[in-house]
């Protein structure tokens, strides 16, 4: 079920009503309702893959219980590896089997050995990368004794399959989300209103910004050889806003929906395009995934401790794995590597934690230095997105070659002024609220109440009027 579909517009109020009016007295019943609703939500897409979620739930629930009973460290380690191998095994099979097969065949044929193996026609289960990482976080935290084992199967199932963030994140940690299923939730009017505002903002990002940018980005990327360099730059910029609007829009809807049910999810995007360097960008982009890799991969590898050689290795590993997580294509790996190259100079010179606060804090506008740094980071990010969007490496290289041609200085064949103005409007709202959790968060001061209402209405009607008339899937469903 898509968040931007009629089905979801009917589904959500029904679940909301049942949750607060029918099951509100009984916590177990509320959790059970969440599990059932989540399975319906997921099954709407393809019910066959519900078995995968159920299997993953049973596996990690059982391993969690075994870990709590087991004192022998070797056996505990073995249990942890069973969980990791099983979960990543499913992910690997569904997501990477054909990629590895094709690359092995190419590699062997390079050395003169022909291997005949058929690739499989595999459907990638929606959200498998997200819920796999979420359940893994539970088992790892229990193994590290950072989290109590749960004996409540319903609560654990609800944690794994929680529908607002099941298919495209945020990847919630068990330490944050699971305890919320144990405690009674009370209806909070202001929290509900806040949740609805965040849903509205998410829909605006997705429907108005991302889907409209997608129309131009698709045309330009699909026919890149026919356009001038300036148009290709515009195409890359449109994709930059498409991916941001699409993914952060999904996160906003997920977080907002969770708030309707009394849950608090962590912020997943903190205005990343206002970053002053690439390290800041990665602290603000897909925070739940970056922090997952930091805690469960980067730090166990040694993190920023030890010799420079090891530090560089760790940085490369984390960025390459992050790229590969997005999909079985070399373009994602190159995208990850490119980000590692961006990151390394400031990391080696110990400048990666220079910009921890939001830009121009307490001021209306950034100073010249901040503006130039923001612009540079944005340009580097746009450049990297070309690899992320391209069909293959060859396409990305030819796209870049065509940009850096004499036609770069010609006027663009495509120039949708209206859409560019909408993006400007969107960025302005995000800029004004950059110190908050999301762009449309309520203004604190009473004197801005009228402006706040006006903005809310404008965003609402923009969604109604400037939607792209299609229910376009979220990009991150495929990851």
């Amino acid at each position: 079920m898509l968040f931007n579909s009629i089905d979801f517009a009917i589904f959500l109020p029904i679940v909301f009503m049942l949750y607060w009016f029918v099951t509100y007295k009984n916590l177990k019943l509320q959790n059970l309702l969440i599990v059932i609703s989540s399975y319906i939500f997921y099954g709407w897409w393809d019910w066959r893959f519900l078995s995968l979620i159920l299997f993953s739930t049973i596996l990690d629930y059982s391993i969690g219980i075994s870990l709590s009973k087991q004192v022998n460290q070797n056996k505990r380690k073995m249990l942890l590896w069973i969980s990791i191998l099983m979960n990543l095994g499913f992910l690997g099979f569904f997501k990477y089997y054909n990629f590895f097969l094709a690359n092995f065949m190419t590699a062997f044929s390079f050395f003169g050995t022909e291997i005949n193996a058929n690739s499989l026609n595999i459907i990638l289960p929606v959200g498998i990368s997200f819920y796999t990482f979420q359940t893994l976080s539970y088992t790892i935290d229990v193994y590290k004794r950072q989290l109590e084992t749960t004996k409540d199967f319903i609560a654990f199932s609800a944690f794994v399959s929680f529908f607002p963030q099941l298919v495209a994140g945020p990847i919630e940690r068990a330490t944050n989300l699971l305890p919320q299923f144990y405690t009674k939730r009370y209806f909070d009017y202001s929290k509900t209103v806040d949740g609805m505002r965040q849903i509205l903002w998410g829909l605006f990002k997705k429907i108005v910004i991302a889907d409209n940018c997608a129309q131009y980005a698709n045309i330009i990327f699909n026919n890149s050889s026919e356009y001038s360099g300036s148009t290709l730059v515009l195409g890359a910029i449109f994709f930059t806003f498409q991916i941001y609007g699409d993914f952060s829009g999904y996160s906003d809807i997920a977080i907002g929906t969770s708030r309707l049910f009394g849950f608090n999810l962590k912020q997943n995007f903190a205005f990343p395009y206002f970053s002053r360097d690439i390290a800041e960008f990665w602290r603000r982009w897909h925070i739940s995934l970056s922090s997952w890799f930091r805690d469960y991969l980067y730090i166990p590898l040694g993190g920023s401790r030890g010799r420079t050689k090891n530090k560089i290795r760790n940085v490369f590993i984390i960025f390459l794995v992050s790229g590969f997580w997005h999909g079985a294509n070399w373009t994602f790996i190159i995208w990850g590597a490119l980000n590692a190259f961006y990151f390394l100079p400031i990391f080696i010179t110990n400048n990666n934690r220079n910009n921890l606060n939001i830009v121009a804090q307490g001021k209306y506008l950034p100073n010249l230095k901040e503006f130039l740094l923001m612009s540079l980071t944005f340009i580097l990010t746009v450049f990297a997105w070309i690899f992320f969007r391209a069909e293959n490496i060859g396409h990305a290289i030819s796209y870049i070659n065509n940009i850096f041609s004499p036609t770069l200085f010609e006027s663009s064949e495509i120039f949708p002024l209206g859409l560019l103005l909408l993006i400007l409007f969107f960025l302005s709202i995000e800029w004004i609220n950059r110190n908050k959790q999301y762009g449309l968060e309520k203004f604190n001061k009473q004197k801005f109440k009228f402006l706040d209402v006006l903005l809310l209405y404008t965003v609402f009607w923009s969604i109604v009027i400037w939607n792209s008339s299609k229910e376009v899937e979220f990009i991150y469903f495929q990851f």
Partner: protein, 326 residues
């Protein structure tokens, strides 16, 4: 105070919407209205020749006249994949197709086109793609010497007029109301729900009545065409085009279909195909151009062309056999 506040913010809500829709209508902000289909009228050499009276029919050629609106003309479909081209490719023998379909043609336009071209082109097959909304046209007035009967106006309560007037005024003034209501109706229609107001409901439920002047006139025109075809020894194929975004909701057209079948049963000179039957149990997604619009896509055109090609080849084989027997 609270009530006043509520009223103020409600008015503001609609005012903002009205402002945004008017800005969009004025400046076309996103420049991508989904229903904007560029229509190019193809002026063929053959057509020019026929219009100038320079056309001499070749007895070895199968001549087919195609009549209809944008549904069969193929708006939004590459030229090579449109019905006429497909049909021409499917009929392997030498075939000459004159496609005089035009977007927005009504029954009256189609009838006039037929009358103009049939004599000069002398088709052996006339293919008329009928769209259920082709019935919407104004019947030309014939001067009558009869005195117009003066009918006293009906008494309607003042209150009712006021409310109706108010609603219609609001509707005609507010771009937002028009936009939102049409969007809701389209969305509902796609789900198979028809609101008993609006053009679609009128067309499917109220227009194809035996007392409706346009339906009577349409039948007269179809009778004339079929009669002329019979006299010319040509075949008249009437193909009722389905709404391709509503294939899953064929029940919306039941009453209309019934009326059509009743008429066809009374006229044996027409070879009638109800397109809905050709796409029965099929999913709209496969054959539509847009979910808010009934136009067929290239796959639908191909399927219709195959059906018609089969019929034409069958007919030709039958005629050929008859000649041999004689």
């Amino acid at each position: 105070m609270k009530a006043l506040n509520f009223f103020f913010y409600t008015c503001l809500f609609f005012l903002v919407g009205e402002l945004i829709i008017r800005i969009d209508l004025e400046y076309d902000i996103l420049n991508n209205s989904p229903y904007k289909i560029e229509v190019k009228i193809e002026e063929s050499e053959l057509r020019n020749k026929i219009e100038k009276g320079n056309f001499i029919p070749n007895p070895n050629q199968t001549r087919i006249l195609v009549i209809g609106d944008s549904y069969i003309n193929g708006g939004g479909i590459p030229i090579e994949k449109r019905f006429s081209k497909r049909l021409s490719n499917l009929l392997k023998e030498e075939t000459l197709i004159l496609d005089i379909s035009r977007p927005s043609n009504s029954t009256l336009d189609n009838y006039n086109s037929f009358m103009f071209y049939q004599e000069k082109f002398q088709p052996q097959f006339v293919f008329w793609a009928y769209n259920f909304n082709d019935i919407l046209y104004s019947i030309p007035q014939i001067n009558s010497s009869k005195k117009t009967e003066i009918v006293p106006p009906k008494r309607v309560s003042k209150k009712k007029i006021g409310l109706k007037k108010y609603v219609s005024q609001l509707y005609s003034f507010s771009e937002l109301t028009r936009y939102v209501s049409s969007k809701i109706q389209k969305q509902l229609k796609f789900q198979g729900i028809v609101v008993p107001i609006g053009e679609f409901y009128q067309l499917t439920q109220k227009t194809y009545l035996e007392t409706n002047k346009n339906w009577i006139d349409t039948k007269k025109k179809l009778n004339t065409v079929s009669q002329i075809c019979k006299t010319n020894q040509s075949k008249f194929i009437l193909y009722k085009m389905p709404e391709f975004n509503l294939l899953n909701h064929s029940n919306l057209f039941h009453s209309l279909d019934e009326k059509f079948v009743n008429y066809i049963n009374s006229n044996k000179n027409i070879t009638y195909y109800n397109g809905i039957n050709d796409f029965e149990n099929e999913n709209s997604d496969k054959f539509m151009l847009s979910k808010y619009d009934g136009h067929p896509n290239e796959l639908a055109h191909f399927r219709i062309a195959k059906k018609i090609a089969e019929y034409i080849m069958g007919e030709k084989a039958r005629t050929h056999n008859n000649i041999h027997k004689e």
